[in-house]
């Protein structure tokens, strides 16, 4: 597999297109290619199974589109965008308004994909996005209909965690619908957000699992019982596979934020990018930092070296922080077009650019092309 690890690839979905970066072993990052220049790319998924790259576009006038490349981004082919069935019950019916998550559904079946959308539908494909099927068991669940928008007008599925031990076992992060789990590839579902707290709700509803707003949900590849949620009201941690959640009440300057990344081989290590809650959404004191725990959330390092520490007003969206499989290389990028990388788990950061478009998502990958 070593030949697949280099050149390393880094994919940025931005307000103005998809940027594909690479670097040789030990070398510097450079932008190889810009695709869809001018168009918002909300999610990019480089598929390690077959080398395909998926890019989801949100065209302001013309709706949501999905494209696939099989040659590293040189050429793109339109896929079907996930579409909701035509309403037959007299209601207005739903339309895909945003693609917020694309992940491999089964590591052994190239082309099998999950796709999370706003207004809250989960879709499945078995053919690399040529066709999509709405998961009606979830869409028609009466509890799903109680979800509400979080930051967007309508609710959406932004995180899809496929359990590395069993691909039929999937957890979703939903703003705002908490965490939902299936153990049978989507036939049946349960809300699994016990322990999360929603302080934006009236007191008697704050503990309601189905109203929670996890901004981002990640699962530890090292120990899949461990999950992290950067929630609207702080950081929540589960060590029992999302059966219960505990709040981490202190994590450097703030526990508010959007992004979280889990270390690939150390279940006790995770990274966050804090900000001032709730709607203020700027770095605390105008100083960008990353917080890192290496002891399962008991304590946090505040990592600032190489990051702007004066009048810096970057916000890092929920998909805009990623860690590579080596566990030391990370990248994160901001709404004001800066991209930072680290080689040592965050002790020291390098600025790649301060001139990019607003960044929606950052994702490492290796291309077989």
């Amino acid at each position: 597999m070593a030949e697949k690890l280099y050149p390393e690839k880094l994919y940025l979905g931005t307000r103005k297109g998809l940027f594909i970066l690479s670097r040789p072993r030990g070398g510097k990052w450079k932008i190889d290619r810009v695709s869809f220049l001018g168009d918002p790319v909300t999610i990019v998924y480089p598929d390690p199974r077959d080398g395909a790259i998926y890019a989801a576009l949100s065209l302001g006038h013309f709706g949501v589109k999905l494209h696939r490349s099989d040659d590293g981004g040189k050429n793109w082919t339109p896929c079907a965008a996930p579409a909701y069935p035509t309403a037959t019950d007299g209601t207005a019916g739903a339309s895909t308004e945003y693609i917020w998550a694309i992940e491999a559904a089964d590591p052994k079946s190239p082309g099998s994909l999950w796709c999370g959308t706003i207004p809250g539908g989960l879709f499945h494909s078995i053919d690399g996005g040529a066709n999509w099927r709405l998961i009606e068991s979830l869409w028609n669940d009466p509890k799903r209909k109680e979800w509400v928008g979080g930051g967007m007008d309508k609710p959406g599925i932004h995180s899809i965690c496929v359990d590395p031990r069993d691909s039929a076992h999937v957890r979703l992060g939903i703003s705002c619908g908490g965490v939902w789990e299936t153990r049978d590839s989507g036939e049946t579902w349960k809300c699994r957000a016990e322990g999360m707290i929603a302080r934006y709700m009236p007191p008697d509803r704050q503990a309601d699992p189905n109203i929670q707003d996890p901004h981002r949900l990640v699962q530890s590849p090292a120990d899949p019982r461990v999950l992290w949620a950067q929630h609207h009201n702080g950081i929540f941690h589960s060590t029992d596979g999302s059966a219960s959640w505990k709040e981490i009440e202190s994590a450097g300057p703030s526990t508010f934020g959007f992004a979280v990344a889990a270390h690939p081989t150390d279940a006790k290590t995770a990274w966050f990018v804090p900000a001032v809650k709730d709607e203020t959404r700027v770095p605390v004191d105008g100083k960008v930092c990353v917080t890192r725990t290496r002891d399962g959330g008991k304590s946090f390092d505040v990592l600032r070296k190489g990051l702007p520490q004066e009048h810096a007003y970057h916000i890092v969206f929920r998909h805009a922080l990623d860690v590579r499989e080596d566990g030391n290389t990370l990248a994160f990028a901001s709404t004001t077009g800066s991209l930072w990388t680290t080689e040592d788990g965050g002790d020291e950061w390098r600025t790649f650019s301060t001139d990019l478009p607003p960044v929606y998502c950052v994702r490492f990958g290796e291309s077989s092309v």
């Binding site: 065209l59 013309f62 035509t86 339309s95 895909t96």
Partner: protein, 99 residues
Amino acid sequence: MWSVSITVKVMPTAHFTANLRRHVDCPPASVAGDTVRQVLDAAFAANPAARGYVLDDQGNLRKHIAVFVDGKMVADREGLSDPVNQDSEIYIMQALSGG
């Protein structure tokens, strides 16, 4: 002297904004129809790839798309029932509300 009679069948023509042609091939389409809906349905039957750029999953006009018939914005955005003549020019444009 021979006289030749030629019957030219005139049909309404749908024109798509050049900005849409950046994303999908959509040349002007002269198709049969008595309403905007019928013209769009016929145009997209011939060019299904363009449909999702103009209509949403439910077949409704996307929020930030504007349709004009002979220079006049359509009155019925929901049903697209505005009548068209056989020589009408229909323009599918970006609404400035979409940015």
